[in-house]
Symmetry: C2
Subunit: 248 residues, 2 copies
């Protein structure tokens, strides 16, 4: 078992979960493996209420946090990792085997918060969700039947995440940029791309995803994110003014 | 993924399962990880019928085998491994971490059948069940909350069992004794112990368990089991005759 403060840096994020039994199952597995921070994004409202108020619902479940958007749920996380089955699609973010990916998350938790995302029972994570991830972890299921039960997928992932490190963690000297910082930068850049006419209506979504992925690949540290944000703010001001003049 | 014939040597054995949802969850995880042989021992009959006839029940579930006793369910297995949580009791069989134990099971499957047992939701495996195991595997859960959901425990165990070997398997030259052979030997020995007056009524159960564990520790090969059975048969004949004469 890892020390509590280490495990408490992990946020387990359930996105658009439908079945309250699955929210309960996720909470139970978290308790089994010593994780406490459950976040739920846009669940079917009724299903979340039902899970939270069920007789015997754990403290963990009662303290679960509800968010309207994924961005808010990962705002304090400097590493965001999605989970996916094999078949789905060709994601444009790096894909790692669960055990490899879990090792990276564990290292990160030694110094900063990280989020692991689980998508809905029917569709998994959307491309929009995935564009917020630094990488995806895949449970190596059989290609012919790769769709796992959500509660079981959460349990297997947390089992790997709770394993002890074999090698001592390398603590980086510099604080990586948080999800909030990255998203602020991304939004800034996107608004500029839109204002500047770079983004066409039919490519708007694709551009947004591409931009988010790029931001994550940069591996920005917090200090640089701040610097970049300042720079972009300046540029955006100019772009916005140019646009205003153009439409005069 | 391992070759099919390898995975088909694994029997997943659910002992005294109560909840049909858990039988269904076990079947689903088996399908995810490429295992097909599900055996169910003394389930709540109604719950097994319900799980098997559920709409959308998989072929795997429809082909699950029902057994009246654990001995029948493991008769063709030369390695029997139980699963247990940490708190329960001090078992008298060796206990391994899941990942270590799973490696041993995988090696065994290269040449012979093995069974992995899961106990009931409430009580886990009984001491009587455990006495039929060569070793136990433990999922490293948090001691304060070590009781796992059955479907999740099955999923995590099969996830480890489906992992590929890092080193090539060592195929032993000799065929290990099957569960049936071991149990035949054990029963023979126990009947002799009873007839001989070694077993007292109040120690009968403890003796049976102790004997089974010892048999498993021996690591008998099939040929030797046969030899031993022949020897014991001969001895039992003499013991039985002596007893008959004694009671004349």
């Amino acid at each position: 078992m890892l020390p509590e403060e280490h495990n408490d840096r992990l946020r387990v994020v359930l996105v658009a979960t439908r079945n309250p039994l699955n929210i309960g199952a996720a909470a139970r597995a978290m308790s089994n493996f010593g994780f406490r921070r459950l976040r739920v994004v846009q669940p079917f409202e009724a299903s979340f209420r039902e899970a939270r108020s069920a007789v015997g619902a754990s403290e963990l479940l009662r303290e679960a946090e509800l968010f309207d958007s994924l961005d808010e749920a990962i705002a304090d996380c400097s590493l965001v990792v999605g989970t996916a089955s094999i078949g789905e699609r060709q994601p444009e973010v790096p894909v790692r085997r669960l055990d490899d990916g879990a090792g990276l998350v564990r290292s990160h938790l030694h110094h900063a918060p990280a989020a692991v995302l689980f998508g809905s029972e029917k569709r998994g994570l959307s491309n929009d969700d995935i564009s917020r991830c630094h990488f995806l972890m895949r449970i190596p299921t059989r290609p012919a039947h790769d769709s796992m039960n959500l509660g079981q997928a959460v349990a297997i992932s947390l089992y790997e995440l709770a394993k002890e490190d074999v090698a001592p963690p390398v603590v980086p000297e510099r604080k990586p940029a948080s999800g909030e910082e990255l998203e602020r930068l991304t939004a800034m850049l996107l608004s500029m791309l839109a204002t500047s006419g770079y983004t066409k209506p039919h490519t708007e979504e694709a551009t947004a995803e591409k931009t988010r992925r790029m931001m994550r690949r940069l591996g920005l540290i917090s200090k640089d994110a701040e610097l970049l944000t300042g720079m972009l703010a300046k540029i955006r001001y100019v772009v916005d003014r140019a646009r205003e003049r153009g439409s005069d």
